[in-house]
């Protein structure tokens, strides 16, 4: 157990990097997706809806495979880690699109009316009235998305990124101590998820309404 521990720590660091980078990308995709889905342009709304439907309607593993193995055919040559980050980020972005959109449309309609009545433009209303309230509503559900994302990073083991699950698999299959190896990797995941959860709660408390 002690012998393998350093390898697990190294792998955990890769898992953390995967999580952070794909989360950042997911937030960007989510924001763009939500903006598209709430846009006044039918073409943008259709694009946003298609993004959400296709990504959520197909397995993340297949999406990773299309990008990593299929990418070279359309001129996209990526390292496994890069492909993993992009595919995972693009995937969670579709879920985050729905989270963000849900938060924005659940801000009371009267808020929009009041701001527009004062003479604020659509954009000004969104920026200074709707968005600050929507941000508060979306932190917890985004936390749920991020929790799923952290566990979801495991599937890039299938394209041989040496992260936590890949490493665990190697030792589960070779050490005759499968349960110990599982618990070791599992505990590291739990720690990462627990710490992330603390961060989300902290953020949620910080922006809570007075």
């Amino acid at each position: 157990m002690l012998r393998v521990f350093p390898f697990f720590l190294q792998a955990a660091w890769v898992t953390i990097q995967l999580s952070v980078l794909s989360c950042a990308m997911g937030l960007v995709c989510g924001a763009l997706g939500a903006a598209a889905r709430l846009s006044r342009s039918p073409a943008l709304r259709f694009t946003g809806a298609t993004y959400v439907s296709v990504i959520r309607g197909t397995p993340a593993l297949i999406q990773v495979f299309i990008l990593y193995f299929g990418g070279p055919q359309i001129g996209i040559q990526l390292e496994a880690f890069e492909a993993g980050v992009l595919a995972l980020g693009f995937n969670i972005g579709a879920y985050m699109t729905e989270t963000m959109r849900g938060a924005i449309i659940s801000v009371d309609r009267g808020q929009n009316e009041a701001a527009r009545t004062l003479g604020l433009s659509r954009f000004e209303t969104f920026r200074s009235v709707i968005l600050p309230q929507a941000l508060r509503l979306m932190i917890r559900p985004l936390g749920v998305n991020i929790n799923a994302l952290i566990k979801g990073t495991a599937l890039v083991a299938a394209i041989s990124v040496v992260e936590l699950t890949y490493t665990a698999q190697r030792y589960i299959g070779s050490t005759y101590k499968p349960f110990e190896m599982f618990f070791l990797a599992g505990s590291i995941y739990m720690v990462i998820i627990y710490v992330t959860g603390l961060g989300v709660s902290w953020l949620d408390r910080r922006v809570a309404l007075k």
């Binding site: 309607g57 359309i74 495991a154």
Partner: protein, 218 residues
């Protein structure tokens, strides 16, 4: 190397077989996860402490770790201690247990959400604990748990792709077999994605029908 989807139809049979296996594994795991979820919920709520606490630890571990890791444990791990499960069985057990834990969570809150007055009403009529559960609580809880369990089933369908990694010849692995013959990953993974999308549409339609029937039964 450009794209050429005309290679796909030649492997339609392979993909179709894979799709059928995907449906088979999804349905089997769904059934396991449903009944497993009920059993787990009852354990988590009503079992004696010595069972309840270890169980909660197990549930916590299953919810906090990746499904793929759990599949590796069940498939590669159990061999180490002399249990050699066929890949399909390992896949069904892994998916089924994983989602049973999530379903159990939903079922627990469904049961707890049934008004306390309902228990008291039933118990004063002389119904036993089990009878109260079966005849009064469960029928009411079912309505609130069906939609979220349905969402889990949709997640299960997509997560079933992971069992390709332990060698179950479902849709994902079938497309890989076609790829190893043609060296056209983009085309076949997209074709597989399209199949998943269609199966997903069917599943969603089915779930909507079930939901509507339950709503009508009010």
């Amino acid at each position: 190397m450009g794209l050429d989807f005309s290679v796909v139809p030649a492997f339609a049979g392979v993909l179709l077989t894979g799709a059928l296996w995907t449906i088979a594994i999804t349905l089997s795991a769904a059934v396991l996860s449903f009944f497993g979820g009920i059993v787990f919920a009852v354990i988590a709520l009503y079992a004696p402490l010595v069972i309840r606490y270890p169980f909660r630890l197990f549930a916590w571990l299953f919810m906090g770790t990746p499904l793929l890791l759990q599949l590796f444990l069940i498939y590669f791990g159990l061999i180490q201690i002399g249990i050699d499960l066929p890949a399909f069985v390992a896949g069904v057990i892994g998916l089924g247990l994983h989602f049973a834990v999530y379903n159990s969570d939903i079922i627990q809150s469904g049961i707890l959400a049934v008004d306390k007055g309902q228990y008291e009403g039933a118990r004063t009529l002389g119904l036993s604990r089990i009878q109260t559960l079966r005849k009064v609580v469960v029928p009411q809880a079912v309505r609130s748990v069906v939609p979220p369990i349905g969402n889990n089933m949709i997640a299960l369908l997509k997560d079933s792709a992971l069992v390709s990694v332990i060698g179950v010849a479902e849709l994902t692995l079938s497309s890989q077999m076609a790829i190893s013959r043609t060296f056209r990953p983009f085309e076949f993974y997209v074709a597989a994605a399209a199949c998943y999308y269609v199966i997903n549409l069917g599943l969603e339609a089915g779930l909507r029908r079930i939901e509507r029937r339950i709503q009508l039964a009010r």
